[in-house]
């Protein structure tokens, strides 16, 4: 009803400015992956991509911990929380890669599984990809990867595979599994912040105050 009326009116106005067939062809060309613009300000290759990524993270005041493999995660997380004076509690998704880790090696760390709750202090996510261009982490939602882990806790820890660090957003999107789109795709660039009061940046506006990356250099 009103949708048709709105679209008919819109179509009528557009028709005045150019033939319908030509317009449709232009849209089809745009949707065709081969006809797309390539805006690649961050193009870099190989080790330069990783270097750029870590530089951007540090500029965003994101702490970066490089680990030789995922097996080192429980101990690294436990000692990170201890050194930062944070509660030794962690909330994570049901991700099989995390399930397989020997959490028992970090006996002082309490690990809860599932979506985050208001009282959780630290959330752990595994990024699908990361973008060197701006130090951006790409976290896709899934049953094993609840979105709330990235927003409710005060501290957000993100695991990134060095092999999944790419130069640009477009490459990160290409790394994701084929359609459909994940329900939520979070492009995270630094922790939550606001400059709404007096123009001064304050961290932890509504989301996490702290963002920390564990970069896995697995062979």
């Amino acid at each position: 009803m009103s949708r048709e009326a709105i679209l008919r009116r819109l179509g009528g106005v557009l028709d005045k400015r150019g033939a319908r067939a030509a317009r449709f062809a232009r849209v089809a060309g745009r949707l065709d992956a081969t006809g797309r613009t390539k805006l690649r300000p961050g193009d870099r290759e190989g080790a330069a991509v990783l270097g750029r990524f870590v530089d951007r993270l540090r500029a965003l005041e994101v702490e970066v911990s490089e680990l030789p493999g995922r097996g080192a995660l429980p101990a690294a997380i436990s000692s990170y929380l201890g050194a930062a004076g944070l509660p030794k509690r962690l909330r994570r998704g049901t991700d099989a890669r995390l399930d397989a880790l020997a959490w028992g090696e970090a006996p002082t760390l309490r690990v809860d599984v599932g979506a985050a709750r208001g009282e959780d202090s630290t959330g752990l996510s595994w990024a699908s990809a990361a973008v060197a261009e701006t130090g951006t982490l790409v976290v896709a939602s899934a049953p094993a990867s609840p979105t709330t882990l990235a927003f409710l806790p005060d501290t957000h820890l993100v695991v990134v595979d060095a092999a999944n660090v790419v130069a640009t957003y477009e490459e990160a999107l290409a790394l994701l599994a084929a359609p459909p789109m994940p329900r939520v795709l979070n492009f995270i660039t630094g922790a939550s912040r606001t400059a709404d009061i007096g123009g001064r940046v304050v961290m932890g506006a509504h989301g996490p105050r702290r963002l920390t990356v564990f970069l896995l250099n697995e062979p």
Binding site: I6, T147, L173, P180, V184, T189, R193, A195, H206
Partner: protein, 311 residues
């Protein structure tokens, strides 16, 4: 305002720093986020090829809004639709840099529908409400270039007028140069009601220079001024303009009247030299005092000083 609105918190708490104010807002609003049943957000972009909405914040407030409640509603106008993800990311690159100078906004979220089978969180229902809200009309007009706007605010931040008078003076959700163009264009019911906003410009052109999507703001502002001149006017406005024209074309009469008015206002201004009330300016005077004239007109003052130089 915080002390008045958050009366349940301790009266003598410290609110002297931005960090303390942010922490209090976070605490109070967190409860509201956790308790809400419906979350409403806008969208910075809507992507046709995937059906996704893209919402951008530095705080993460939109993410709590769209993740915690049972229902998520996106309200957005049709000009937010872009064809592909690639188009959206090209614009996202421009948005953060132009808005705050950040390389990328902290949270850029692509949301595509409601909770899926097995998901541990997310809303159970999701809706996108597409609004026309005057956009088709705008597309059909000579102002269509404004539909490219991505709401970065660069034009405001570089506008000398906006920086002096602030956003509230525009009496619209769209302040600054883009507001001066957009507000009258969207006021379908009263098309000439907000054209005066275009007068608040020096035409310095900085807005146009910094606009990442190259909206010709200066010529659009000029168009509004031209429209305002040819617009039908009320009888009192016509009468006022006519008598002004009469007076302005008679220098002797103008000087005589100006001299009387300047002296009268200086007298009213008193020792503080401020006017608290002025006929027809009461809405403006509600928050401001008007500096009173010195008692002499510009020409009288000029003559006086010229004599001083000769001496």
């Amino acid at each position: 305002m915080f002390r008045r609105k958050h009366s349940e918190l301790h009266v003598d708490r410290d609110l002297s720093t931005p960090a303390a104010i942010v922490a209090e807002a976070r605490g109070v609003l967190r409860e509201k986020f956790l308790g809400a049943q419906v979350g409403i957000t806008g969208a910075n972009f809507l992507v046709a090829e995937t059906g996704s909405a893209i919402v951008v914040t530095n705080e993460g407030n939109a993410d709590l809004t769209m993740t915690l409640p049972d229902v998520h509603i996106v309200l957005a106008t049709i000009d937010k639709v872009v064809p592909t993800l690639d188009d959206a990311f090209a614009l996202l690159r421009l948005l953060a840099r132009s808005a705050t100078g950040q390389p990328f906004t902290a949270y850029t979220t692509l949301v595509t529908g409601a909770q899926r089978r097995g998901d541990a969180d997310g809303p159970r229902h999701s809706h996108i409400v597409l609004l026309d809200a005057g956009r088709t009309e705008l597309l059909n007009s000579d102002m269509r270039d404004v539909l490219r706007c991505i709401r970065c605010g660069a034009c405001m931040n570089h506008c000398p007028v906006y920086c002096s008078i602030g956003g509230h003076a525009y009496a619209s959700v769209y302040p600054g140069p883009i507001g001066a163009v957009l507000t009258p264009a969207l006021a379908v019911a009263e098309p000439y009601g907000a054209t005066h906003l275009a007068e608040a410009s020096t035409f310095c052109g900085r807005c146009e220079e910094v606009c990442p999507v190259r909206i010709p703001l200066v010529s659009l502002l000029r168009q509004w001024r031209e429209k305002a001149i040819t617009a039908p006017r009320a009888w009192y406005s016509r009468a006022l303009l006519r008598s002004w024209a009469q007076l302005a074309s008679r220098p002797r009469a103008y000087r005589a009247l100006a001299s009387i008015v300047a002296r009268a206002l200086a007298h009213v201004g008193g020792r503080k030299r401020y006017l608290r009330y002025f006929p027809a300016l009461s809405p403006w005077m509600k928050y401001r005092d008007l500096p009173a004239p010195s008692g002499r007109t510009f020409l009288q003052e000029f003559e006086r000083r010229k004599q001083g130089w000769r001496r």
